[in-house]
């Protein structure tokens, strides 16, 4: 088995509104000549403002879109090979932004069973997987609920359980918290981290929230269809000018630490979260008073 679960080689994709009448117009590609490898077990965050190409990148991962130039290999299968679509969908599952657009059943557990049913899994095995998946996202107690009675965060957890029940090795989540309130966002981020750490599932998280990206092991920043930064959160968020140039903020705690450093308060580099910042300030204060 390959070490890379997803590989992009010089991938280009352009949406083409006029293609229907046979007169393609030269639209700017949404994704332009991207090469990228995601290793098994990684937790990768993809950042970028709207229109940067990050959702297109997500849809190329499991053959919802197929490249117009170059190739995407998911779980070792070429996504352009139509006979392999089911194998690819068994490898890479997707969760989208709007929880109301991806729930199909009228009972929570039926919704979670929908994916494995379509993969032809045996009924007894489905029962087992559904229970496990709902337990993993903390929604087992809601298995007989009607989905519309759940909060946004709970609905997203059901959607994630649907992917877990398919036993995919990789989950791609396209802004799964964008429509949630702070509490829902925390719930979903906790589950995402747990999937990666405890179940070893590869996670690709598309987001525009900096505080979510800092929790990943690797951060990729996209702008105008290209990858402009790729590294650990500390490496990426050190490139402040580049980030601001693409219309992204740096994490608030990092910006605050910068100001304090400029004022002469001795803080180490690489502060990204509120906890790290408070730690560093408390340390500097204790040091100054000794």
């Amino acid at each position: 088995m390959s070490e890379n679960i997803i590989e992009f080689k010089n991938v280009t994709y352009a949406y083409d509104n006029a293609a229907e009448d046979g007169n393609p117009i030269d639209a700017d590609p949404a994704v332009s000549n991207i090469s990228l490898a995601i290793k098994r077990g990684e937790f990768v965050a993809v950042l970028g403002h709207n229109g940067s190409g990050k959702s297109t990148l997500a849809k190329l991962c499991n053959a919802i879109l197929t490249p117009q130039g170059g190739a995407v290999m998911s779980g070792g299968f070429d996504t352009a090979d139509e006979s392999r679509v089911l194998d690819i969908r068994r490898t890479v599952g997707m969760v989208f932004q709007n929880p109301d657009n991806q729930i199909v059943a009228t009972v929570v557990e039926d919704d979670v069973a929908f994916g494995p049913e379509n993969l032809g899994v045996e009924p007894l095995e489905i029962r087992k997987r559904v229970d496990e998946a709902l337990t993993a996202v903390g929604m087992y107690g809601f298995r007989l609920y009607e989905p519309h009675k759940l909060s946004g965060g709970q609905k997203q957890r059901v959607a994630i359980a649907g992917v877990i029940a398919m036993r995919t090795d990789c989950i791609v989540l396209d802004e799964p918290t964008a429509m949630l309130d702070p509490r829902g966002r925390l719930e979903v981020m906790d589950i995402i981290k747990k999937l990666n750490r405890e179940l070893g599932i590869t996670v690709v998280l598309i987001t525009h929230f900096m505080d979510e990206a800092v929790q990943a092991g690797r951060v990729i920043v996209m702008d105008e269809g290209r990858i402009i930064l790729d590294g650990t959160p500390k490496e990426v968020f050190a490139r402040k000018e580049t980030l601001r140039g693409t219309g992204l903020d740096i994490p608030q705690a990092a910006a605050f630490a910068d100001r304090l450093r400029a004022d002469g308060i001795p803080l180490p580099d690489g502060i990204l979260t509120a906890e790290e910042c408070a730690d560093a300030i408390a340390y500097a204060y204790a040091y100054a008073n000794n």
């Binding site: 709207n50 525009h208 910006a255 004022d263």
Partner: protein
């Protein structure tokens, strides 16, 4: 005199069924003419139910709603008057676009008010300018716009009614940082130019901190706090407990106080935090930090 006022407002959903829920309970608030009020609360706290009473979309189960000191449910005419005086822009308003062109969509409200063609045109142009929609977009189908442009067109539709009170329910939900800045920027300009009363409903404390002069916090169907933005933010710990997101810098200061450092708990901007820490470090080590 206040422009809008509620006294002991209570609203129930599913009344006299097993599923009866008190959505808002005993709410008495006053909104002054020309003020910028923030309404904060997590999903399910009752904030959307509350604002739907302001223009008569929902009728209180008990209590009253007053516009200019008159009960809006006094007569059919007074309800109609409230609908035009108080413009309500729902969450994800772009889902409500329906007309053939952006121009017709924005003019829908003013048309229903029975205004003359040239007055309608003036209002559409003005609203489009407020939200930064270029002239050439007005003749397009709303469905050909980008997500951010759709949102702006939908907000323009409410602004074109030139309501005395503009209520925006989560206008930045689901937008990236750049989109958020754009929307908040034009809301601010709209208010400066028209002097109108604005109510901004949000679970983002950052948005409220940037724009509002006064805020109410809703929790479990009731008003948990009301006051100036300063007063509200000085209770950061309680806000966190209600599932609200306080600015990172507030978290840092709550953390520092928890460790026993002598710092203020009501810090919500980087500027305030910087000042507070400079004071601390100067006092702490005899001017070591310049």
């Amino acid at each position: 005199m206040s422009i809008l006022k509620t006294t002991n407002l209570t609203h129930l959903y599913g009344q006299k069924t097993l599923f009866e829920v008190t959505a808002v309970k005993n709410i008495s608030i006053e909104i002054e003419e020309g003020e910028f009020l923030g309404v904060i609360g997590h999903t399910g706290s009752g904030k959307s139910t509350l604002i739907q009473h302001f223009n008569g979309l929902l009728k209180p189960d008990s209590g009253n709603v007053y516009l200019d000191g008159r009960d809006i449910w006094e007569s059919k005419e007074s309800v109609r008057k409230a609908r035009f005086a108080v413009g309500l822009c729902f969450q994800y308003p772009e889902y409500q676009l329906f007309e053939e062109t952006v121009y017709r969509d924005i003019s829908f409200g003013p048309k229903n008010m029975g205004l003359a063609e040239d007055e309608i045109d003036r209002r559409v142009q003005r609203a489009a300018r407020f939200v930064g929609l270029r002239e050439e977009l007005l003749s397009k189908s709303p469905f050909d716009l980008s997500g951010g442009e759709k949102r702006r067109a939908a907000i323009a539709g409410v602004m074109a009614m030139e309501p005395r009170v503009l209520i925006l329910d989560e206008p930045t939900a689901g937008l990236d940082p750049r989109g958020r800045d754009t929307v908040l920027g034009f809301v601010k300009e709209y208010r400066q130019e028209t002097g109108g009363t604005v109510v901004l409903v949000s679970h983002s404390m950052d948005d409220i901190a940037r724009l509002a002069t006064r805020a109410v916090v809703m929790n479990r169907s009731e008003i948990a706090m009301a006051g100036t933005v300063d007063e509200i933010f000085s209770r950061g710990g309680e806000l966190l407990e209600m599932g609200l997101n306080v600015p990172q810098v507030t978290r840092i200061f709550l953390d520092l106080r928890g460790r026993g450092l002598p710092v203020s708990a009501s810090v919500y901007t980087n500027e305030q935090g910087e000042k507070e820490l400079l004071r601390l470090f100067q006092k702490g080590n005899g001017g070591g930090a310049q």
